[in-house]
């Protein structure tokens, strides 16, 4: 998977830095990790982006860690904050992680927005949640929290629960301030006024609007019905999922992951449990892998079907969504039979699954797989081949591969541009290398192709599920490992050495060894990754959730300029996002 080893990459990067040395760190996930001095950050990033042979064109993630209460430090000297950049080179199929240490008293750093445009929102998020300033950022304002919020929530000093914060009351003065803060002033968003005031109209699309799929706001500057400027505003669905990760045991956080991409169900559990398994060194049995793949693909179909229906609905076709809900309902019945829940089963466990498959599961799935192709053919005629749909979607909201990578697009949105990159093929995880399936690609990168790629993916997922049913291996559904949660129970009543870890694992929860690991999956909407930092405790020290929808929404202005309102609706319908996946 990683083609170039850490020393090779170090020898490539080090020459660009004249007077300082890159420190190497070893992490559980084997991604080459380098510490760079604050003053050299821009030089290093610039080299990685432009000067290397096969450069790192994609800023996969940018986040920070508050190190102030950490016990197991990586660097010998004391540091208060770490800013982490994860870069990816598609040409090399390799990642590199760059870390910068910051001091409590000087929480400022150079902005990398000039190198990777999608750093814009990530840096705003780090500023909002950690209070780290980025010099040279075009518009550094809060993104998740309200502008009136005091403090920076992901700092360890910030309270994590309402009960720690004192009583809240909304006095009239406070209410007026809050209302005033909601008023839209273009200058606050880094815009310079242009034209006469009555030449344009500002339209507030959202936060409550039928087509924004949740609570999402886009401020539109309109010339007639043509969009001059679009400014997406997120944060209305922020629930502090990352902060909650620091207060939940490793095990009890699993249900929270279900609700990140709330259409993805157990697909969200997968990167989380895989990251913990990487930290703990758990190798899961073959049967677990196949069941995980099967359930993840079932949820991919469920999510894609909902996308398909809502996309058709956004361009005015009322019926498809109802037919697709019928299919989803049948599939949810299967999910319920297997996991006991429907949309949010929280069914994967550290080192295994919550239960084995029930009797008769294969018959249910096979029946559905036999029933579905005829329906898919109907939908092709109803939606994909409909000439009105084509008129509304072909050529609308198009971008090319380079723009997609520049703005951090992953998943079907990237493949719709014709770029062949599916994590399941390029870096197989969870045993995907054993399955036979194709990666559907588009050509134009427009709304129509984004939909077409997902429709083709539904068919591919059905292929994978059929292979799972046909070749389901026998064996245990939990790894035989001391950190498997809940642990296998067979021997607990026989010897005390098993009973004690079992008791501790169930009551306190497992203690995961110190270290950090990031695991990524090809989720329903793109690349979903969990970057976990363990401080050898029963809880995560820092849970970073890199979600695909976040950068996808950041790209909306690029696509929206010059469109009609109706085109914008078709475009955002084709992105396939849920706000929980954006705001976390």
């Amino acid at each position: 998977m990683q083609q170039v080893s850490t020393p090779d990459l170090l020898s490539e990067l080090q020459p660009w830095l004249a007077n300082s040395v890159l420190l190497t760190e070893t992490t559980a996930d084997q991604i080459p990790t380098f510490w760079v001095a604050k003053k050299d950050l821009l030089t290093l990033c610039d080299a990685a982006r432009y000067k290397l042979d096969k450069p790192f064109t994609f800023l996969f993630d940018l986040t920070a860690i508050d190190e102030t209460t950490r016990q197991h430090m990586v660097l010998p000297q004391r540091q208060d904050f770490t800013v982490v950049y994860l870069l990816r080179s598609y040409e090399r199929n390799q990642d590199v992680r760059i870390k910068v240490a910051l001091d409590q008293n000087n929480k400022a750093l150079a902005s990398v927005t000039s190198i990777w445009p999608n750093a814009n929102w990530y840096e705003r998020e780090v500023w909002d949640l950690f209070g780290i300033k980025f010099d040279g950022h075009p518009c550094l304002r809060r993104i998740m929290m309200p502008t009136t919020w005091l403090g920076h929530p992901l700092c360890k000093t910030h309270p994590a629960r309402a009960t720690e914060m004192g009583e809240y009351s909304l006095s009239d003065d406070l209410r007026d301030i809050e209302q005033q803060a909601l008023k839209f002033n273009p200058a606050d968003w880094g815009l310079t006024p242009q034209g006469a005031p009555d030449e344009f109209m500002w339209l507030n699309l959202g936060p409550n609007h039928p087509s924004v799929h949740g609570v999402f706001r886009i401020m539109l500057q309109l010339d007639g019905e043509e969009i001059v400027e679009a400014i997406p505003d997120i944060g209305y669905h922020h629930r502090g999922a990352e902060k909650m990760g620091e207060r939940q045991s490793w095990h009890s956080y699993i249900p929270y992951t279900d609700r990140i991409d709330y259409l993805g169900g157990v697909m969200n559990n997968l990167p989380y449990v895989m990251a913990i398994e990487k930290l703990a060194g758990i190798e899961v049995p073959e049967r677990v892998k196949v069941i995980r793949v099967m359930m993840a693909e079932i949820f991919r179909i469920l999510s894609h079907l909902l996308f398909y229906g809502t996309f058709a609905q956004d361009i005015g076709s009322l019926s498809p969504i109802f037919y697709m809900f019928v299919d989803r309902e049948k599939l949810f019945a299967i999910v319920e039979a297997i996991t006991g829940a429907r949309m949010h089963p929280a069914w994967f466990r550290i080192g295994g699954l919550a239960a084995d498959l029930p009797k008769g599961w294969d018959k249910m799935i096979t029946e559905w797989l036999d029933y579905m192709p005829a329906r898919m053919a109907d939908y092709d005629q109803m939606v994909m081949q409909n000439s009105l749909v084509k008129k509304r979607a072909v050529g609308i909201g198009a971008y090319d591969t380079a723009t997609a990578i520049e703005w951090g697009v992953t998943g079907p949105g990237l493949r719709a541009t014709g770029f062949d990159w599916d994590l399941r093929k390029k870096r197989p995880y969870c045993g995907y290398e054993n399955f036979d399936f194709d990666v559907p690609l588009g050509t134009r990168g427009d709304s129509y192709d984004r939909c077409a790629v997902r429709v083709a993916e539904i068919r591919q997922s059905m292929r994978i599920i059929r292979q799972c049913v046909q070749h389901m291996p026998e064996g245990p559904y939990k790894a035989d490992h001391v950190l498997t949660t809940p642990p296998p129970k067979e021997r607990t009543m026989q010897d005390i050495d098993t009973l004690i870890p079992h008791f501790l694992g169930v009551s306190w929860g497992p203690v995961i060894p110190a270290g950090e690991a990031m695991m990524e999956v090809e989720a329903t909407k793109g690349s979903n990754a969990y970057y976990l930092t363990s401080d050898a405790s029963t809880m995560s020290y820092r849970t970073r959730i890199r979600t695909p929808s976040f950068p996808h929404l950041q790209m909306i202005p690029v696509m929206a300029k010059g469109q009609m309102i109706a085109d914008l609706i078709a475009t955002i319908g084709s992105i396939d996002f849920v706000m929980a996946d954006v705001d976390r």
Partner: protein, 317 residues
């Protein structure tokens, strides 16, 4: 001089039409449910038949609210104009040889005039609401209605040439040998498209396109004033179906059954067709809609008119 008979007739028409429009709401929801593999309203009364009544009671008891930023008199007037203009049009519809309020010599022109009036309702509502979505909806409605009105009139002229009259009962009687849908097929299709556009139904529901403009021109309306818009829309759908029946499908003409039954049967099948359209089609973009109107339908309508006139003159020589 208005006689007592005429007044009673008008009262009876209104008393029948308004509840029928309400029933139509229920009928459409059930039919849509059937098309979309779901039930639709089936709880109030047998088959949910009283659903509209329940909705009506609820809506009547709602707070009659006018937004403080709205232009009050216009805001109140707008829904009234809409419903009244459509109701007035029913006066000239010949449902059977004796069942019509007015067999006017200019029935067809009166109908066209009244549909043009209806656009004021939407434009004024969009303007008076003082809301950006409503304004956009109102603007769309104005552009759409004005352009589609042009060829709605032109498409009917072919029929006028053939029958030699603007009087609707004459037009029906002129179809005894052959319905005008056959010689005037192009006119029929164009009138149907224009009719859907006039009544703002999918795929021509852009003034209230829900996924784009939340509710378009009636975003700020609620309670009884909203109900009037709703009523107007469904009355409009009935009116267009009745007009198509009268002008192109031989009106009340038909064997065996009484005339009124034929008339209602034809109207009902057209209504079902409109509902099916709503279930089947996506919505075109606004500029695509106008482009279709001006670049394709208007030339075709004019061609149809010229060809009809030519054939008529040829026949006379």
């Amino acid at each position: 001089m208005p006689t007592l008979d005429l007044v009673l007739m008008i009262a009876a028409m209104v008393a029948i039409l308004v509840p029928t429009a309400a029933m139509l709401v229920w009928f459409e929801r059930r039919l849509l449910g059937f098309f979309q593999q779901r039930y639709g309203p089936n709880r109030v009364g047998y088959f949910g038949i009283l659903q509209s009544l329940a909705d009506l009671i609820k809506i009547l008891f709602k707070h009659d609210w006018i937004p403080p930023f709205a232009d009050r008199p216009v805001f109140v007037l707008a829904p009234l104009i809409g419903a009244l203009a459509v109701l007035m049009s029913f006066a000239v519809v010949p449902m059977s040889p004796n069942l019509m309020v007015s067999d006017s010599n200019i029935g067809l022109l009166f109908f066209l005039a009244m549909t043009s009036m209806a656009v004021y309702s939407v434009v004024l509502a969009g303007w008076a609401s003082n809301n950006k979505y409503a304004l956009l909806g109102g603007m769309r409605a104005a552009a759409q209605t004005i352009s589609y009105e042009v060829f709605m009139g032109v498409s009917l002229l072919g029929v006028v040439i053939l029958s030699g009259s603007f009087k609707l009962s004459d037009i029906v009687l002129a179809q005894q040998n052959m319905w005008y849908v056959i010689p005037q097929f192009l006119g029929f299709v164009i009138f149907m498209i224009a009719g859907i556009a006039e009544s703002h139904r999918l795929p021509f529901d852009l003034p209230e396109a829900e996924t784009e403009l939340t509710a378009g021109f009636h975003t700020e309306y609620s309670g009884i004033k909203f109900a009037l818009f709703f009523l107007g829309e469904y009355l409009g759908m009935m009116l267009i179906s009745m007009m198509i029946t009268t002008v192109f499908l031989g009106g009340w003409l038909g064997p065996w059954l009484p005339p009124i039954v034929w008339f209602l049967l034809k109207t009902l099948s057209l209504i079902c067709f409109f509902v099916l359209l709503r279930a089947a089609l996506p919505r075109p973009r606004f500029d695509q809609l106008l482009e279709l109107g001006w670049k394709w339908i208007l030339p075709l309508a004019l061609l149809n008119l010229v060809a009809t006139a030519f054939v008529k003159l040829w026949g006379d020589f």
